[in-house]
Symmetry: C2
Subunit: 278 residues, 2 copies
């Protein structure tokens, strides 16, 4: 792991790192914020997964998470959204290929060679940061849009690996959306039975979640038809799942929306990640 | 004035606007954050002037000012750092011409035709926003690097126009720095007597300031030799000027530094801008 940059921020440090990834078969870049409390011992980890077209950088610079993470003594990790570079397959569309990994393990050519963001985030990057950084093995996960989809699907499939869960304007039901069907078809093939394990609404219906889930969604979001929050809200209510889907009047899909509610999401995770454990 | 974008943010609205500028002779872009309190009546204004290479956008997206401004009921205005576009003179260097207006009124060719950022910010944009937006005619000013220089020089020359003053890592003594001598020479000519009214340390020595001044400076700033905070600190002490120059250990020149202390600067201005007036 190589540290590309370090900037002091809210008495902690914002770092950008690269490392060779076995899962993705290329070097990957990620950002991590270490709060001041990390100088005194391991701190819990909040994973933030970003949306379409983003790199590790967008939420790091625009989300305002550092202030809140410093207040609560949480690290925040911002992975990239896909493998990148020469030799990595891509597509002209903004919503397929580089910048659009959808947090799946692709099984179809040309994507299967590198697009294994599910394994990368869930296992490889987790093990790397636990090994190299002063982090406790206690994790929460959140994300925005495609990254909200990633956060929900990773956590719902791996409840033993995450203690807290939230999302900002997640792609909530990709098997029924143009933000999903196109990508799942490309990455996984046309057999839709392989898609269900990457659909938050279907996963929540099947597995539930062990604790409350926080979802914020801008009521003025320009992509509401693609995000399908109503699918997730329906399952939440039907299953009597603890949690809340907050429709926030006037907010759109931008980082202004994310930054506005970042503090409350970090509060949400901190409350759960700092709970005494056995 | 044309509204280019509007995004809900911390219950207020982040806007980007363009307008034809008489001072600069081209269309200019600026950003303004209106806090939720502006729905109920005029709110005081905090001006944030940006540094070299920036547009209206950098601090708007990376500074985190909106959260603090919403808390205090202040508007924040983010002007551009120079005129731009075809027909506007420029230079290959990042620190002269477009993106590097230095908040002066240029008197020399080829700059004099458009580079009148002093008049633009102090008078034209001020009158425009007071006319078009729900703003009280009560102003504070701050800025970063070249913008800290702009904030200090505009306020020190016009104490009747600003009720509060702070700066982040300002270019504090440009007549004695390579961030200054080159630009003042280009914009104003080689007669250095014309430069003094654009040097914060010389202006503070001459005029003082009616209230306390807050300066934050990263002790790990990679540009300390160009910024010359020691010149301003010397004048402050010698003149018994109320105020503080805080050397912040470990912080560099980036927006991570600005964002870290943005809350305290907004607190500083809010305390002064909300004081009862005659």
């Amino acid at each position: 792991m190589e540290v590309v940059s370090q900037n002091r921020c809210f008495d902690g440090v914002q770092m950008v790192c690269t490392h060779p990834s076995q899962a993705c078969g290329v070097d990957m870049t990620f950002a991590v914020y270490l709060p001041p409390q990390a100088e005194d011992g391991p701190v819990p980890v909040l994973w933030y997964l970003s949306g379409l077209t983003c790199t590790h950088e967008n939420a790091m610079t625009k989300g305002g998470f550092q202030e809140h993470a410093a207040r609560h003594g949480l690290a925040v990790i911002f992975p990239d959204t896909s493998p990148r570079g020469e030799g990595v397959a891509d597509d002209e569309a903004y919503d397929l290929g580089q910048g659009a990994g959808f947090y799946v393990n692709a099984t179809r050519a040309p994507w299967a060679a590198h697009f294994r963001m599910y394994d990368y985030v869930l296992t490889e990057l987790r093990e790397l940061v636990l090994d190299k950084l002063p982090l406790a093995d206690v994790h929460g996960i959140t994300g925005h849009s495609m990254g909200g989809h990633g956060a929900l699907t990773l956590a719902l499939r791996n409840p033993d690996k995450f203690a807290s869960l939230s999302a900002f304007a997640p792609i909530a039901n990709p098997t029924q959306s143009d933000w999903g069907r196109k990508q799942l078809s490309a990455y996984l093939g046309d057999d839709e039975s392989a898609w269900a394990c990457y659909d938050a609404s279907l996963l929540l219906q099947e597995h539930g979640w062990k604790d409350a889930i926080l979802i914020d969604q801008g009521a003025g979001d320009q992509f509401l038809d693609l995000l399908r929050p109503e699918a997730l809200a329906t399952v939440l209510a039907r299953r009597r799942q603890a949690g809340l889907v907050r429709m926030q009047p006037g907010y759109d899909h931008s980082y202004y929306f994310v930054a506005t509610f970042a503090g409350e999401h970090v509060d949400w995770h901190a409350e759960r990640l700092h709970r005494p454990r056995n």
